[in-house]
C-alpha cells in the first residue's frame, strides 16, 4: 500500500491565513513613498498557509524520503557515511551561525581559527601546503583547481597549453569543469587491469597539455599502481597534476596525494568528511595546492599577524579572483573540523581501512552472482557489470536497482563509470556493520535468484513506494517545471 500523494503548497491554504509573526512596526510606514512605476500592485500568487498546514506538509514530505538515518546507502563515489549529530550541534551554535561575513576581524577570531585549523589538518592529511574553502562543492573545486593551473602556465608566459587530460572513466564534472576553465578535454583510455593506459598517456602528452585530472583510487575503485610514473611523465611534459578527491575515503590517513606527485587537489567535505548531503547540498569542495601555486588561489586567504590575530588577506595580486561572494560554505567546513577532531589521525586511518574492508567483503560475497568489472581487489568501492544478466535474462541494472528499493535498500550507483556495461557501483563506507552488509548481500542474492525464476518482480518494481517508476521521457519532452504549468494543464 503506497503512501498517499501530498498536495502542493499552492493547492493548500486560504486567503487570510497567516503563519508569520513579527513585532508591530515601531516607526512610520514609509512604503507608500515607493513610486508607482516601481511599486507592485498585482498579487504574487503565494499561498496563505497556517503553521500547522506547513508543518504537516513538510513532515509528510520527509516521510517519503530515503535517508542515511533511515537505511543503507551503498552509492559508489558518493561516500554516504553516517552524519554525526554532534557536528550539527556545533554548527548550530549561534555564535557561529549568527556571524555576518563582513564583520571586523576582531569580532570573528573564533570563525577564522576554525578555518585555519581545518586548513592545517587537511594539509597534513593530503600533503598540500595551503587550502581555500571558497568552492561550494567538488565541481567548483575542480574549476578553481583548473583555473589555478591555467594561471600558472600563463604566469610562465606559456599560452599554448589548451588541453586537459582525463581518464575515460572520469566523473562527468571533470570534462565539464575543464570546459568551464577554457580547456579542451582529451580522454585517455584505461587498460585491461582498469588502470590508466600508460602508452595512451604518453601519446597524448605534449606541450599543448596543461595537466591531467585523476582520482586515485579511480572510478573503478582501483588504485593507480603506476601513479608515480604517471605524475613523473606529466611533469616531464610540462603539465600539472590535479587530484579529484571524490575517492579520498579509500586512502585518508594511509597515503597522501601530495606525495604521489599531485600539484593541486579538491576534497569533498560532504563525502569523506561526513557533512550531510542535504538532498543535493550544501557541499564544500576545498582546494589544496603546493606552495608554488599558492599565489593563484582565490582571495581572501586566512592569515595570522605578528600579534597572533587572524585576518583576511586580500592583498593577493596573482589570485584568480573569486568564485563565491564570501568564503564558501563555512558552516559545512565547521562540521568537517568537528568530524576530524572526533577521530584524530589514527581514527581517520581506521576510516579508510574499514571502508576498504567493507567494499572488498561485498566484492568477494557477490562476485559469483555479478561479474566484477575488473578481476582485482578493490579499494573503497567495487564495480560490477550486469552485462551477463542483461543478455541472459533481459534484466538490466535498472531493474535490479528498482527491486532493491522494494527490499528496503537505496540502490548502488547505476551506469557509472561509462566504460562498464550495465555498471553497478557499490561503496558501503566504514560506518556500516557486518550485519548490514550481510543483509544487503542476502537481498542481492535473492534478486539474483528472482531474475531467473520470477523476473516480473524486478520489471514491475518498485511496488511498495509512494510511486512506481515515473515516466521520465515524458517529463523531458513536455516539461512541467512549476505549479503554473499544472494550472495550464487544466485549461
Amino acid at each position: 500500500m503506497r503512501l498517499k500523494s501530498e498536495a502542493l503548497l499552492f493547492e493548500q491554504g486560504q486567503e487570510g491565513r497567516q503563519a508569520w509573526s513579527l513585532p508591530a512596526l515601531d516607526c512610520e510606514d514609509r512604503s507608500s513613498e515607493i513610486k508607482p512605476e516601481l511599486a507592485r500592485s498585482e498579487k504574487l500568487g503565494l499561498p496563505a498557509l497556517s503553521e500547522l498546514e506547513v508543518v504537516r506538509h513538510f513532515t509528510a514530505l520527509s516521510q517519503k524520503n530515503y535517508s542515511i538515518d533511515g537505511g543503507f546507502y551503498p552509492l559508489g563515489s558518493c561516500t554516504m557515511k553516517y552524519n554525526p549529530k554532534i557536528n550539527e550541534e556545533v554548527a548550530s551554535l549561534s555564535a557561529f551561525s549568527s556571524l555576518h561575513p563582513l564583520q571586523e576581524s576582531s569580532t570573528v577570531q573564533g570563525a577564522l581559527a576554525v578555518l585555519d585549523e581545518l586548513e592545517r589538518h587537511l594539509s597534513s592529511l593530503t600533503g598540500f601546503d595551503r587550502f581555500t574553502f571558497q568552492p561550494s562543492a567538488g565541481a567548483q573545486g575542480e574549476l578553481v583547481g583548473l583555473l589555478t593551473i591555467r594561471a600558472y602556465h600563463e604566469s610562465r608566459g606559456d599560452n599554448s597549453r589548451t588541453k586537459i587530460l582525463v581518464p575515460d572513466a572520469a566523473h562527468g564534472t571533470n570534462p565539464a569543469s575543464a570546459t568551464s576553465a577554457g580547456f579542451k578535454t582529451v580522454e585517455i583510455k584505461s587498460d585491461s587491469r582498469g588502470n590508466m593506459d600508460l602508452d595512451a598517456l604518453k601519446a597524448a602528452l605534449g606541450d599543448d597539455v596543461a595537466g591531467l585530472m585523476l582520482t586515485n583510487p579511480n572510478t573503478l575503485g582501483l588504485f593507480e599502481t603506476n601513479i608515480l610514473e604517471i605524475t613523473r611523465l606529466v611533469h616531464e611534459a610540462g603539465g600539472l597534476l590535479y587530484y579529484d578527491g571524490a575517492n579520498a575515503n579509500a586512502i585518508i590517513g594511509q597515503c597522501r596525494p601530495g606525495d604521489m606527485g599531485f600539484d593541486v587537489c579538491h576534497l569533498n567535505l560532504h563525502k569523506t568528511f561526513s557533512t550531510p548531503h542535504g538532498g543535493g547540498g550544501p557541499g564544500s569542495g576545498p582546494v589544496g595546492v603546493k606552495e608554488f601555486l599558492v599565489p593563484f588561489l582565490p582571495k581572501p586567504m586566512v592569515e595570522k599577524d605578528d600579534n597572533g590575530n587572524f585576518y583576511w588577506d586580500d592583498n593577493r595580486p596573482a589570485s584568480i579572483g573569486k568564485v563565491h561572494a564570501f568564503y564558501g560554505n563555512f558552516a559545512v567546513a565547521l562540521r568537517a573540523l568537528a568530524y576530524i577532531k572526533s577521530l584524530g589521525g589514527g581514527g581517520l586511518r581506521e576510516v579508510s581501512s574499514h571502508a576498504v574492508l567493507n567494499a572488498n567483503y561485498i566484492r568477494v560475497k557477490l562476485q559469483d552472482d555479478w561479474e566484477p568489472a575488473v578481476n582485482r581487489s578493490s579499494m573503497h568501492e567495487v564495480v560490477f557489470s550486469g552485462r551477463k544478466q542483461k543478455h541472459k535474462y533481459g534484466v538490466t541494472t535498472l531493474d535490479v536497482a528498482k527491486r532493491l528499493i522494494d527490499l528496503g535498500y537505496h540502490p548502488p550507483t547505476m551506469y557509472f563509470p561509462l566504460i562498464v556495461e550495465e555498471a553497478l557501483m557499490i561503496e558501503p563506507t566504514e560506518t556500516e556493520s557486518k550485519e548490514t552488509l550481510d543483509s544487503f548481500i542476502a537481498a542481492m542474492k535473492q534478486i539474483s535468484r528472482e531474475m531467473k525464476e520470477s523476473p516480473e518482480l524486478l520489471k514491475e518494481a518498485p511496488v511498495k513506494q509512494p510511486i512506481g517508476r515515473p515516466d521520465e521521457a515524458r517529463a523531458a519532452r513536455l516539461p512541467r517545471l512549476t505549479f503554473a504549468a499544472l494550472s495550464k494543464d487544466k485549461d
Partner: protein, 457 residues
C-alpha cells in the same frame, strides 16, 4: 573503538578470512610501500563528544555574534527573522541525510520540495522557469553572463558598476577563460543609478547582455526599467537582473518588466548568516532560455498508475550526461538551503513578505533621516533605496564601528574596504532592528563625530 565504526575485532577477522587475508594492512598491498605513511597523521588527540562540545563552545566565545548584538551590516547578507519552524522542519534527518534524488521513487519528499522552490522563485522573480538552486548570488550571476553569451553568440557584456564588487570579481573569474569583454558601465554619482543615455551609447552590436542589480550594491532601486529593457531588447541583447527576492514584497518583479534572466541571493529567505555560507543562489529564465539553464531541474510526471511523480528532468543539459558540452559543471548545489527557503516562504506567504519588506524599508528610511538630521552624516545618493543605503560619515568610520561594538551594536560596512572613499559607509536595516537600536546608533555616531572634531589632529 573508533567513533562511528561499528566493527569489532571479531567482525574484522571473519571478514578478512572471507577474502583470504589475516591483517587489515594487507588491504593496502597494492599501494607502493614508499607512499604508505609510516605514522598516523598528527592532528592532535581524538576528542570525546563531551570534549568536542567544550572545544567548539570555547572557540565560539571568541566571536561577537548577532544573536547578542544588533547588526547593521548588509552588502549581500541580511539579518532577517527566521521562524522556528524552518530549522525544525529542514533539520529532519530525512531531509538532511538524504542524497541527491536520482531514485525518484524514494525521494519524492526532496523532489516535491524542490518543485515548490522552483515555483516560488518564478513567482518572486516574475519569470517562467527556475532551477533547483545555485551556490550563491555571485556564482549565479556569473553563470547568467555565460548563458547570455552562449545564447547570443556575442562576446561583449555590459555590467553596471554599482553591482556588488564581490559579484563583479566573481563574474570576472568565470569569464576570463572565454574571451568575453566585460565593460563596467559607470553610474551617475548623484543619483546612484544608471542613466539611460549612458546605456544607449554603451550598447554595441556585439553586446550579449546588460547586467543590472536590483537593488544596487548601495541599496538603490534603479528607475526607468521599462525604458532600459526596450533599449536592451532593441539591440537584441539580453537583460540580466541580480535581484533581492524579498523586494518582491513591495516592488514589481524584474520578470514583469521584461528581464530575460533573473539571478540572485536568497540568503534572506530563511538562511542563517553562517559567516558567509552556505547561502542560496537562484537563476530563473524565460521559457525560451529553459534548455540553457545550468544545474538540476525538477519536473512533474506520472507513474503508470497516474500518480503524480516528481523527477529530475532535462538532464541532457547536465555534466553527468553531456560532460564537456554541459551547460555548466555544477553537480551538488544548495539543496537543503532551497528547502529552508520554501519553508520560510510557506510560513511568510504574500502578506508576510510584504510585511518584511515594508518594515525593512520603513526602518531603513527612519534611520536614514535621523542620521542626516544629526549632522554627523552627509547625503550621498538621491536615488530611491529599499533596505540599505550609503552615506558619508563626517567622523572616523573605524572609531565609529569600535564605539558601536562597545555598546553591543555591529555597525555597517566601511566602504573603504572595497576601495571606496574613507568616509563612505553602507548600512542595512531589517525588520529585526528596533527603533531603540536605531536611536542608539544615531547617538553613538554623533558622539564619536563630536569627540573627533574637538580632539587633537
Amino acid at each position: 573503538m573508533t567513533k562511528y565504526i561499528p566493527h569489532t575485532s571479531e567482525d574484522e577477522q571473519k571478514m578478512l578470512a572471507e577474502m583470504g587475508l589475516t591483517r587489515m594492512s594487507e588491504l593496502f598491498s597494492e599501494i607502493p610501500a614508499d607512499l604508505m605513511l609510516e605514522e598516523e597523521p598528527d592532528l592532535g588527540p581524538a576528542l570525546s563528544e563531551y570534549e568536542l562540545r567544550q572545544y567548539f563552545r570555547k572557540l565560539a566565545r571568541q566571536n561577537v555574534a548577532g544573536d547578542n548584538a544588533a547588526i547593521f551590516l548588509g552588502a549581500g547578507s541580511y539579518d532577517h527573522y527566521i521562524p522556528a519552524a524552518v530549522s525544525a522542519l529542514a533539520g529532519r534527518s530525512e531531509f538532511t541525510t538524504a542524497y541527491t534524488p536520482y531514485q525518484p521513487e524514494i525521494s519524492q519528499g526532496t523532489l516535491q520540495a524542490i518543485f515548490e522552490f522552483q515555483s516560488y522563485m518564478t513567482l518572486l522573480t516574475g519569470m517562467d522557469v527556475s532551477n533547483a538552486s545555485m551556490y550563491d548570488g555571485a556564482m549565479s550571476l556569473a553563470e547568467a553572463v555565460l548563458m547570455a553569451r552562449a545564447q547570443s553568440r556575442r562576446d561583449h557584456v555590459l555590467l553596471a558598476a554599482n553591482i556588488h564588487p564581490l559579484y563583479l570579481e566573481t563574474i570576472k573569474t568565470y569569464c576570463v577563460p572565454h574571451g568575453i569583454t566585460l565593460d563596467l558601465l559607470a553610474y551617475n554619482e548623484t543619483s546612484g543609478m544608471l542613466d539611460t543615455e549612458s546605456i544607449r551609447s554603451a550598447l554595441k552590436e556585439d553586446t550579449a547582455a546588460l547586467v543590472v542589480a536590483l537593488p544596487s550594491f548601495h541599496g538603490i532601486m534603479q528607475e526607468n526599467l521599462e525604458e532600459i529593457t526596450s533599449l536592451v531588447h532593441n539591440n537584441k541583447s539580453l537583460f540580466i537582473v541580480s535581484w533581492d527576492p524579498t523586494a518582491a514584497g513591495l516592488y514589481k518583479t524584474p520578470g514583469s518588466l521584461g528581464a530575460d534572466i533573473v539571478t540572485g541571493e536568497a540568503q534572506s529567505l530563511g538562511q542563517d548568516l553562517n559567516f558567509g555560507g552556505p547561502y542560496l543562489g537562484f537563476i530563473a529564465v524565460t521559457e525560451k532560455l529553459m534548455r540553457r539553464l545550468p544545474g538540476r531541474i525538477v519536473g512533474l510526471s506520472e507513474d503508470k498508475d497516474g500518480r503524480r511523480a516528481y523527477v529530475l528532468t532535462l538532464q541532457a543539459r547536465e555534466q553527468h550526461i553531456r560532460r564537456d558540452k554541459a551547460t555548466s559543471n555544477i553537480c551538488t548545489n544548495q539543496g537543503l538551503n532551497a528547502l529552508r527557503a520554501v519553508i520560510y516562504l510557506a510560513f511568510t506567504g504574500e502578506s508576510g513578505l510584504r510585511e518584511v519588506a515594508k518594515q525593512s524599508y520603513s526602518k531603513a528610511h527612519y534611520l536614514y533621516d535621523e542620521l542626516l538630521a544629526s549632522g554627523a552624516w552627509e547625503k550621498r545618493f538621491d536615488g530611491p533605496f529599499y533596505k540599505e543605503f550609503s552615506l558619508f560619515y563626517r567622523g572616523d568610520c573605524k572609531l565609529l564601528n569600535q564605539a558601536l561594538l562597545d555598546e553591543g551594536i555591529i555597525g555597517g560596512l566601511r566602504l573603504s574596504r572595497v576601495g571606496d572613499d574613507e568616509s563612505a559607509y553602507l548600512i542595512a536595516v531589517t525588520e529585526k532592528r528596533s527603533r531603540e537600536d536605531m536611536d542608539r546608533f544615531v547617538k553613538i555616531a554623533s558622539t564619536v563625530y563630536s569627540a573627533g572634531k574637538g580632539g587633537p589632529k
